[in-house]
């Protein structure tokens, strides 16, 4: 879910844009005058035309770089001079670069909270952890398949329940300690299974209520056995970096709370022991985190030299996106990651591209989805014995025709053109077009008010003097909410209110604080319509199971709350809710790619037909890199949490000295 941005940053943005780039004046007024879009669109200033052209060019050109094929395993001289064997290393796939140099990137908002990846709750700590700790497998940024990383190979045995992982020879922690199967066994059997730190990792790896068995076979071999066949298992391993047993084991023998404090952001970074390409060297609170090269990292370049190339990786902590962009223009930052460059920034930045000595990369649609939903809850609050949603409104919100009518009345194209400045795509499905499982058969549809009116008529709604009444004569009116301070969502809601006005619906739009909105959707169930967004997963749709299973924690359109014992039941699940759940259960247990596609296609089809969430649009991922960065080859699938972000090949990123330093 996207971060809340305060009203302050909106103000700052508007002012900076107005002062700095006068061409935006046109854009802001255009959003404000949403009802009469078409007339406004006709009169364009020259500056606006350039902006539109730039934005068109950007949308057309999704950046593609050719798949370099699988990694090659090479043997190199061991780090240990006394060793008789060689080390096995993966060979990076880019061009040979230069050693040395500092890369400065940034995160916005708050500082990361911990170096302890196994305890992280926030995206910043996750992105930082991914620079310091390697995983057994990684997603191939080109194909989406699972590449072994620390592992040499991962094999699924015939029973479909046993996974054998072979580690590479010669892996070392940054302190020189050998990294072997003991560390892997410790990570899964102790840290994750016993629930140290953030227990979410345990939950994602749990299959049908049981954690897989972990068994060390020999120093370099580990076996996982899941209770039942579970297809996403290998991809779940990408979320679980291996922990250093020789450092963390003493902590796990102490009370569990101490694990939270271990390797917190204020610890001495000298105590860190890492397996990834970089290690934190210094933390300057509120300003930046400086990472140093890990000389023991086990990947090599084309010439067999140990990576990473960079000697320093600096993460500046900046309050908001606008300051990030200013610092990037001022060359204080080398790079802007995807969540910094928003739609309305992109068109303006594009105009500075050639003079600013940087390149923008359009990485295609984001995995997140923006949607509108109605509260379809039909139950009573056990405490007050009152309905969560008024019975009159329950009937509307549970009427499929009503939801379809709303969906067909919204002009998604106009949302994309005006709010995202064209840097986005209209969305009709539960998976973003970026997903490997995106159902292409589900066709987009344009705004069609007549069709909407016909649907409403079918359900007995009557339009009298431009006011819509249901069949019992109740006026159709409801409140719509989104989180305050997010200018894009705010403008979206205003446009939706206007679109629905044409059907005769009276929508009261009322932005509220993000935290309050979440409390309403997740706990009090006291809401009627909400516009919000959820992050998705381009590779594994199963990660959305929390949203789609009828008893899921984020089944927001009909949230079922836990009873006194903490269990959630869904005896009143609708047939199509059950079918979606079945799709997820089946897709979770089969390894047959064709079948998985069929199940995930079907789930998207049901959502498309039933519209429990009315999808609106998805954003494009855009990054910007100074031209002095070498080997930056981002792909849509190679994106994770900032600061690692779109640097899927961070180990071979280098600084071209030739370009002005």
């Amino acid at each position: 879910m996207s971060n809340q941005s305060s009203l302050l940053s909106l103000l700052i943005y508007l002012i900076s844009a107005a002062l700095f780039l006068p061409s935006l004046f046109g854009c802001t007024t255009k959003i404000a005058e949403t009802p009469k879009q078409d007339t406004v669109l006709q009169s364009k200033t020259d500056a606006e035309k350039t902006a539109t052209e730039a934005q068109d060019a950007l949308t057309r050109s999704i950046y593609r770089v050719r798949d370099p094929g699988p990694f090659k395993l090479v043997t190199v001289k061991s780090l240990d001079p006394n060793s008789k064997t060689t080390d096995e290393c993966w060979q990076a796939r880019g061009e040979a670069g230069k050693f040395g140099g500092t890369l400065t990137v940034s995160i916005f908002g708050r500082d990361p909270k911990t170096y302890n990846y196994w305890d992280h709750q926030d995206a910043e700590s996750a992105g930082l952890g991914l620079l310091m700790f390697d995983r057994l497998v990684e997603i191939d940024p080109w194909t989406g398949k699972m590449n072994p990383r620390m592992a040499k190979s991962v094999t699924v045995e015939k029973d479909k329940k046993t996974f054998t992982v072979k580690l590479r020879r010669g892996l070392k922690w940054s302190d020189g300690h050998a990294l072997n199967a003991d560390d892997v066994e410790f990570t899964f059997a102790t840290i994750i299974k016993r629930g140290f730190g953030n227990s979410s990792m345990r939950d994602t790896l749990t299959v049908y209520g049981q954690f897989p068995e972990v068994k060390k076979i020999d120093d370099l071999t580990i076996q996982f056995v899941t209770p039942r066949p579970f297809a996403p298992f290998v991809s779940m391993l990408t979320n679980a970096p291996i922990a250093p047993k020789h450092v963390l084991e003493p902590i796990t023998k102490r009370p569990m709370e101490e694990f939270h404090a271990f390797w917190s952001i204020n610890c001495d970074p000298k105590t860190l022991v890492v397996s990834g390409p970089f290690k934190v060297g210094r933390y300057v609170p509120g300003q930046r985190i400086e990472l140093e090269r890990n000389a023991n990292y086990s990947m090599v370049d084309k010439n067999g030299a140990r990576l990473p190339y960079l000697s320093k990786f600096v993460i500046a902590v900046v309050p908001d996106q606008n300051t990030q962009i200013l610092k990037f223009y001022g060359k204080e930052l080398d790079f802007l990651d995807i969540r910094t460059v928003r739609g309305f920034d992109a068109a303006l930045m594009k105009q500075r591209e050639s003079t600013g000595d940087f390149t923008m990369f359009n990485l295609g649609p984001n995995d997140g989805t923006q949607f509108l939903m109605f509260n379809m809850n039909r139950r009573k609050d056990p405490k007050t014995n009152k309905y969560y949603v008024k019975p009159i409104k329950q009937e509307w919100f549970n009427d499929r025709n009503f939801r379809l009518a709303v969906s067909h009345a919204i002009s998604r194209k106009r949302l994309v053109d005006n709010i995202l400045r064209g840097v986005g795509l209209p969305l009709y499905t539960a998976e973003s077009p970026a997903s490997l499982y995106f159902n292409k058969a589900l066709k987009p549809y344009p705004q069609d008010l007549n069709y909407s009116r016909a649907l409403l008529q079918k359900s007995g709604f009557v339009l009298k003097d431009d006011v819509l009444y249901d069949r019992n004569g109740n006026r159709v009116e409801f409140s719509l909410t989104t989180n305050a301070g997010n200018s894009g969502r705010d403008a979206t809601c205003i446009m939706i209110v206007n679109d629905l006005k044409q059907l005769g619906m009276k929508v009261y739009y009322q932005p509220i604080d993000f935290n309050i909105m979440i409390d309403k959707t997740a706990h009090s169930c006291d809401w009627e319509a909400v516009m919000m967004a959820l992050t998705g997963d381009k590779v594994e749709p199963y990660n959305g199971a929390n949203i789609w299973k009828a008893d899921g924690r984020l089944h927001m359109f009909d949230q079922r709350l836990p009873d006194k014992n903490g269990t959630v039941r869904a005896p009143d699940a609708r047939d199509w809710e059950k079918e979606i759940e079945e799709c997820f259960n089946k897709a979770g247990t089969t390894f047959d790619e064709k079948l998985r596609h069929r199940y995930f296609d079907r789930y998207q089809e049901i959502v498309y037909e039933q519209q429990p969430l009315i999808y609106l649009y998805c954003l494009l991922d855009i990054s910007a890199a100074n031209n002095r960065i070498g080997n930056y080859r981002p792909t849509p699938l190679g994106i994770t949490y900032t600061p690692r972000g779109s640097f899927h090949n961070i180990e071979e990123i280098y600084i071209k000295k030739a370009v002005q330093n």
Partner: protein, 322 residues
Amino acid sequence: MSPAVYIFKRFLQAIPLLLIISVLIFTLLKLSPVDPLAHLKANPSISQAAIKAEEERLGLNKPAPVQYGIWLRNLMQGDLGISTSGSSVSTLLVNRAGNTLLLSLLTLFFTWLIAVPAGVYAAVHRGKWVDKFFGLVTAVGMSMPTFLLALLLLMLALATGALPIGGLTSPDFFEKNVFQQILDVAHHLIIPVAVLTFVNLAHIQRQMRANLLDVYRAEYVRTARAKGLPENVVIYRHALRNAINPLITMMGFEFSYLLSGAALTETVLAYPGLGRLTLEAVLTKDINLVMASLMLGSVMLIAGNLLADVLLKFADPRITLE
């Protein structure tokens, strides 16, 4: 009453006051319907169990009076508690307080250095073009929001490339020698100090000018002039000493802003100060952190007032400490 006894009495009076303030802040925080764990709850990949565990760890599942009791008990033992980020509140405050103090003290220094002479000069040369010029400058300073000025200066920094865009130190700060480090920090401080000085300057200069003009009309000034004293002595010996009292009181109030007054400027300029930390803490309802920094603000206010009262005693012997 001797100053020492007076200070001790005021100190005792402050204790119940601080207790009442803390209860008020705590109640207000608890009444606001903000959920500190909302971001976790909105993340599909975080489980119910993880959220439960986090609630327990932060003590959010206990009734509010119990939470306040725990907070107070910890405070007595000198423990300000744990922030939602997991690190101790006192470490966070200490990390940032130094930066803010540096910024505030420099601002205070430059403000007074410029404002007091400027106020005196404007009063002495009332109605001349210098006075009108200061009038214009202070009007702008009073009406312009700090963040707007900060942004304008950032634009200037970007356009000229002469000044850094926000922050307090350069990425290569720790590779420099001490002298270069001082220069680096000074370079980064130019914009924030300029912004805050410009804005604070306005009201102190106006106040100084108005006070001095008031005193100018007093009889003893006329007497002094009638005695044939030189104008300089009249102004600096007789008029200024009497005009400075309200400014000392003002300084007492400004003391309380030292640690918390620059939140907006700090946010816009990416300055790693206490104000920005507090603002972020309020937005995410980080109770321990908000409590600690608001209490710190209250203590500073009380201490500032006390300081001003004692200073007044020294500046003006007619005042007695009661």
